[in-house]
Assembly symmetry: C2
Amino acid sequence: MIEVFDDEHFMRQALFEARQAYDRDEIPVGAVIVTKNTIIARGHNLTELLNDVTAHAEMQAITAAANYLGGKYLTGCTLYVTLEPCQMCAGALYWSQISRIVYAAEDSKRGYRAMGAQLHPRTTVSSGPLAFEASQLLLDFFRKKRN
Amino acid sequence: MIEVFDDEHFMRQALFEARQAYDRDEIPVGAVIVTKNTIIARGHNLTELLNDVTAHAEMQAITAAANYLGGKYLTGCTLYVTLEPCQMCAGALYWSQISRIVYAAEDSKRGYRAMGAQLHPRTTVSSGPLAFEASQLLLDFFRKKRN
C-alpha cells in the first residue's frame, strides 16, 4: 500500500527543520523538497552559524535536492517552506524551474511578492498550511531576542 | 607608495574569472569583491560543474568574502561582476548590504532590473567598464554552443 501524504504532512517536516534553526539561535525558517511523495532534501536557516547571507533554508534545500537528483532542474518537485521566500530564494527557485512552492507564513516586508521578484512561469504557489505555527515560532524567536 | 586601482583594473580581474568559466564550458560570468583596494574574494559561474543553479559567480564571491571578513555583512566592499546580477544574486547582495556594485554588460532579459528585484537602499551601482569585452565573451560562448 502506498501512503499519500498531504501538504500539512510535509509542512510539518519543514516546521521540524525550522525548530532546528530556533534551537541553534537562528531565525527559525525550515524547508523540505519533495518529489514522488518522498522528501529528497531538507534545510534550515544557518546564516549566523555559517556567517553567510546565502545560507537560507531554501538555498540549502535546492542545492541538496539537485545533488540528490544529479541535475540542477527541480521540475516535478515541490518546496515546502515555513516562511514566504525572499527575492534571493525566489530567484534561485526561478532558475531551478521547480514545479510547486508551498509556504506557511507570509512575509509582508521581505517576501518575494513585496520585493517584486518573480517565480518561473511554470511554478505554481500555495500558501497557508501551518501558517499559525510557523508565525508563532518566528514571533517567539524575535521576542526572545529582544529580552 | 600605495597604488590605487580603478574600476577597470578590478573588472579586468572579474573578466579573468569569466574566462575561467568559459574554459570550463560554463556560461562565462566572473566576479571579484574588493575592499580597501584589495581583492578579498573571486568567483566564476559553476552551475554546470556543480549541478547547482545557486552557483553563480556572485554567490560564490559573496560567501568567500564573508568567510574572509569573518562576518556576513559586506559594507565597505565593492562587487565587480562581468554581467548584471540576476534577481537571486541581487537578493543575496541585498542581504549582504554591500556598499557598491559595478557590472560590465547589461542583462536586459534576466538582469535584476528587468525582473523587478531590489538592491539594498544603501548600495550604489555603476555599469559599463569592459562591457564590450564581457559581452563578446558571452556571445562567443553561445555561438560556440550553437555550432
